[in-house]
Symmetry: C2
Subunit: 687 residues, 2 copies
């Protein structure tokens, strides 16, 4: 494991590089790979068994073995079929890692998939680390290393941001958008088919690189979600990570139960990324903006940082305020001392409290900005002013001001490009984020706030509470599932499981009326779909008739009845714990009834949860008003609901034999709650 880790560092920051399949003909990959290595200060060896002299001026040898020393990084510029054998040689020679740019692997069909699997097995058994196959490779600006990347990447400046993308097209798009923002890159890494090195591995490597101040990550689907989640939780407290996760329009992959249907995999992925401390964005543009801002202005963890808005144009201030508020950012009123300072520095104009609208900037502009920055409610300031050199020279005013401030000051402007460029360049070289629209400026602030809030959440204690160890029946049904729930401290209605009409009638006599009669069989996952639930039975005759109707449901095995007391009305919720193939155990909560299902309104987190995670789920679900007592209704037992979410999360986390536990519905009351139905599904045996 440790060797595997150090080999990752050898791969991405090598002292020596070999190109296997080196070629002298310019349209071969083996030529281009060598050409890209021209600026690399370490040892470069061209490998070609047929060559009889240097290729492109590089030292050339017939094989990796002939090098005589283990090379850190091997670029395989050979056909797919030749890769496993050559990789074995590299492993035998003690090389650290390699990368395969070429295709012809899993993306090309079954034969390629088998080849790729073979590469994966070689890595797993040896500790050799492989990037790709089918990747554009990577650039390490710090090491002056361009490992097989596409053209024009040399034009990118060195800087504090690492870009990690599954697609080379997005990698370069984001890198050049960063360049537009004056931000250089430390690394740009393409993951390709990712048979061995995946996003999580790269994040771990980058976390230890001092030059990297922020990470921009692009994902097109996550195979090992849990690993990514755990890695992000470790990495984001050290370095901010902004993520663009493509695939909003994917529908959920789980069809086995209602909870599964509601759970879109993209929604789960985004929830998991946020829960792990990443800032999730919606576009390549926002990925660049957010990473650039975070690389310069990361704030200390804080649950709701206050943003000060200073603007020379009220219209732009309104646009920014609107966007900040739509994203839940706090724009606090300024304190009385600040207002006093502002009125001394500004003419009596319409709005001072925040946003502060200065009107056309005057000589006091710097004092205004300083006053807002020093307000105790403010954690960062954004300032927008159109280019108006006669009124304001931002490059003269801001750098001094920012140097003297203990809080981030971000700037935004717009105007003729040639007039703007020197200003933007001066600000950026002074370490000030500078945007080219009001929204870009606001989005930068939103990224800073979301990062600080996520880190504040992550910093809260994550208590270890192993739940009671409960035996899970081999073939669970509703009754045994509810017994398990009761063992966890989750109440269900009073009930009897009955094997015959006689037992059912006895239960009917003993229980409080009205009762519910349900078919009880592990064969039936969704009782309502087979008319397996008879509600509101108060009279004996109706009860008997209900049993007869339940008998009409075709069943292969044993037929039993579950007779339950009717629960009083309450707020109906769906609560589920579900083991996701990629992300592992998760908890989902949604409002009950068809509306929630039609609108797909649910909130999901990875288990185990803190009570703060559970609280965030309820906020995401926007049911705070309902819980607090909507329209004069009494407030509901929020604490009981939070406990339930945390409990089912702990429980699935500690019981790998459970694939799914679904409580649909749970009824929530002024005091406590009741699980009216329970579906428990065991994890299928590993194949």
């Amino acid at each position: 494991m440790n060797e595997s880790r150090s080999n990752l560092a050898r791969l991405f920051a090598p002292a020596s590089v070999a190109v296997v399949g080196a070629s002298a003909s310019p349209n071969k990959a083996g030529y281009q790979a060598l050409a890209a290595l021209r600026g690399f200060p370490g040892r470069v060896v061209a490998i070609n068994p047929k060559a009889d002299g240097p290729i492109s001026g590089f030292e050339t040898l017939p094989s990796l073995r002939a090098v005589g020393a283990p090379v850190d990084l091997v670029l395989f510029a050979v056909p797919a079929a030749a890769c496993p054998e050559l990789m074995r040689e590299a492993i035998d020679c003690g090389c650290g890692g390699g990368l395969i740019v070429g295709g012809g692997f899993a993306e090309s069909g079954p034969a390629g998939a088998e080849l790729q699997a073979e590469l994966g097995r070689l890595c797993a058994s040896s500790g050799f680390r492989l990037l790709g196959p089918n990747t554009a490779g990577f650039v390490n600006k710090q090491a002056s290393l361009t490992a097989c990347f596409v053209p024009s990447v040399d034009r990118l400046a060195r800087g504090p941001i690492a870009v990690v993308a599954q697609s080379a097209g997005i990698n370069l798009t984001v890198s050049f958008l960063l360049a537009r923002l004056g931000a250089g890159i430390s690394q740009a890494i393409g993951l390709g088919n990712a048979v061995d090195v995946d996003a999580a591995d790269v994040l771990d490597f980058l976390a230890a690189q001092p030059e990297t101040k922020a990470i921009a990550l692009h994902l097109e689907g996550v195979n090992q979600g849990r690993k990514l989640f755990e890695t992000l939780r470790r990495v984001t407290p050290k370095k901010p990570v902004a993520v663009l996760a493509v695939g909003r329009q994917d529908v959920g992959e789980f069809a086995r139960s209602h909870t599964g249907n509601l759970l879109g995999s993209h929604a789960l992925c985004v929830s998991a990324l946020r829960q792990a401390g990443a800032v999730v964005v919606d576009s390549t543009e926002d990925l660049a903006t957010t990473a650039a801002a975070l690389s310069l202005h990361r704030m200390a963890p804080k649950s709701a940082p206050g943003i000060g808005v200073v603007t020379a144009q009220a219209g732009a201030g309104l646009v920014m305020l609107d966007l900040l508020k739509a994203n839940g950012v706090t724009v606090p009123e300024l304190g009385p001392a600040t207002l006093q300072r502002l009125s001394a520095n500004l003419p009596p104009i319409t709005y001072l409290k925040n946003p502060v609208d200065t009107g056309r900037p005057g000589p006091t502009f710097a004092d205004v900005l300083t006053a807002v920055t020093e307000d105790p409610h403010i954690d960062a300031v954004i300032c927008y002013a159109l280019s108006e050199p006669a009124a304001l020279l931002p490059a003269t005013v801001l750098p001094d001001l920012a140097r003297g401030a203990t809080k981030p000051i971000l700037f935004g402007t717009m105007g003729p490009r040639d007039e703007l460029e020197p200003t933007l360049a001066a600000l950026r070289s002074a370490g000030i984020f500078a945007a080219e629209s009001p929204e870009q400026l606001a989005r930068a602030a939103i990224g800073l706030v979301q990062d600080a809030a996520a880190q504040a959440r992550l910093a809260l204690p994550q208590p270890e509470r192993p739940p009671p160890r409960l035996a899970v029946p081999d073939v669970p049904d509703e009754h045994s599932a509810k017994q398990l729930l009761e063992g966890m401290g989750v109440p269900a209605p009073r009930r009897r499981a009955c094997a015959s009409h006689e037992q059912a009638l006895e239960a009917f006599e003993r229980l409080q009326k009205p009762v519910v009669a349900k078919v009880l069989s592990s064969e039936v996952l969704h009782k309502t779909e087979v008319s397996g639930v008879m509600l509101n039975l108060a009279e004996r005759a109706a009860f008997t008739a209900a049993l007869v109707r339940l008998d009409a449901i075709p069943l292969a095995g044993e037929r039993r009845y579950l007779i339950e007391e009717m629960a009083p009305p309450g707020l109906e919720l769906i609560v589920g714990a579900l083991r996701n193939p990629s992300f592992g155990p998760t908890v989902v909560v949604g409002l009950g009834g068809t509306l929630a299902e039609v609108w797909r309104l649910t909130a999901t987190r990875l288990a185990p949860l803190t009570s703060h995670d559970a609280e965030a789920m309820l906020e995401e679900l926007r049911i705070t008003a309902l819980l607090e007592g909507f329209r004069n209704a009494p407030p509901l037992d929020r604490a009981a609901l939070l406990r339930l979410l945390v409990s089912v999360g702990d429980w699935i986390h500690h019981h790998p034999e459970i694939e799914q536990l679904e409580l649909n519905p749970v009824r929530l009351y002024q005091r406590g709650l009741l699980a009216l139905d329970a579906l428990l599904i065991r994890t299928p045996p590993a194949s």
Copy 2:
């Protein structure tokens, strides 16, 4: 009226301009206004009673009267208090219009508001048109006229887009963002306080300007919503209009009833803009992108145009597809003939159907693009390729291709700025929209599609159906409101209005049990809040007890009872018709129950509605699945619901004496519907 219209044209496209308050001292507005007029080819007169020679080289006279001929446009560069008197002089001289840059009007307090009102009265009584006060003025590139705009506006190129904004800051931000896209402006107009000339007036003027191909509009709140709506409906079929409406975070302004509470004014504004054919965007960036794309590539009206996506990088294709789908854009599979053409031109790669992923562009790239463009399912094509001059020269390939195509082809790219600039410039001068990120390209396409779909909707016949003329009682209560509904053909439960317990008991005997007993009084707007509704009364004793409880509700006037048959269960909806102070009659529909209220899920349109508008409301509400029969439930009577929405819209449209009609709830069934409750509020007498 006609004079008022021609005066608007004199204001914005004058042959002569006078500056009242002309000054020789450079920091006075009267100096700057004159200086900005230097390039204007028409007559310019400086007005200053004390001057004894030309100011800044311009002909100078002591008064407007001294000019001897009516000037088209008068710039008032004088203190607020002097404006009314000088405007009277301008009116007396037959001047066309004016603009007031200075502040000190409604934004400054009551005295300023009265000054502003006086200006408004002068305009209304004379036909003189005033822009502002408190505006940055306007630029008319066609007329080489800069009327008092802020500095650096001269740097903007002339082109096909008119920018209209309430704020000068946004006006310039959008104009310079357009310049980044290579798009010039025909006019840039700041509305300021808009005491006379408002957005609708400007739109009407621009619709008649041949040079303007698309309009970018920024709104910060709409006072005369109905006027804007009607104007947009007239203008958008001639010229596309993109709108940024600030104020998402505003809450609704109407608090008098539930429907009012649900109806956020911003949501209403956006609905009205879309209903009138505008493309609504969310940022200054998207406003520029959308207007630029529409100025070049407006499509013919079509309800769901198909977009072809061609990409040299699969990652970028996925990003664009995701964004298009999230906005409901159709990305159709290509036909078999197209696929055949594509396979002849491309190596056997992963995806051809749409998006078409070409891999690294080869010599057949143009053929691929042509094949996709000619596919019968495709109405426009977007194409993204990273800058890679060795593989693709877009400026060589695309202009010819676009010239030969009958459908829009839009391009997007990214790379080093100096490498990109010549390509972008060449494409743009060939009339091709060129974006600098995958998302910007996709958003341009979304704008084209939304415009074409809106115009297809507007082109549908708008039938005139005056509803039955029904007498509205002076003091309506639930019973009389339901009688009115029945007159409109909207059924309500069988019921009796009763003045005494005796009458109520007789009704109880006659009606089908169970019944509902309600307090009947125009004093009670929300019966449930005073426990004024007793449900499910089947026994006489319970019924009598219910009457006694209704008697406990304190009432000043007459106490009556409404006894109704209980309606069977069904899908509960809220349907309202509401007269909005700005937008006039509107129709709103939402799902019943607290959830819809908590989540504020409603859809609104201005009345009268077409059935297509009503249909669009149900789609916006995302209840199609419910109406079609969710989870094996029978389908519901969608047609009856659509008729109801159209009916209440027609009705409020033709009955100005009605301020509000709220049906909460309406129950929808497999056949028909029932209005279970009805609240009718008369329009208060005009003050």
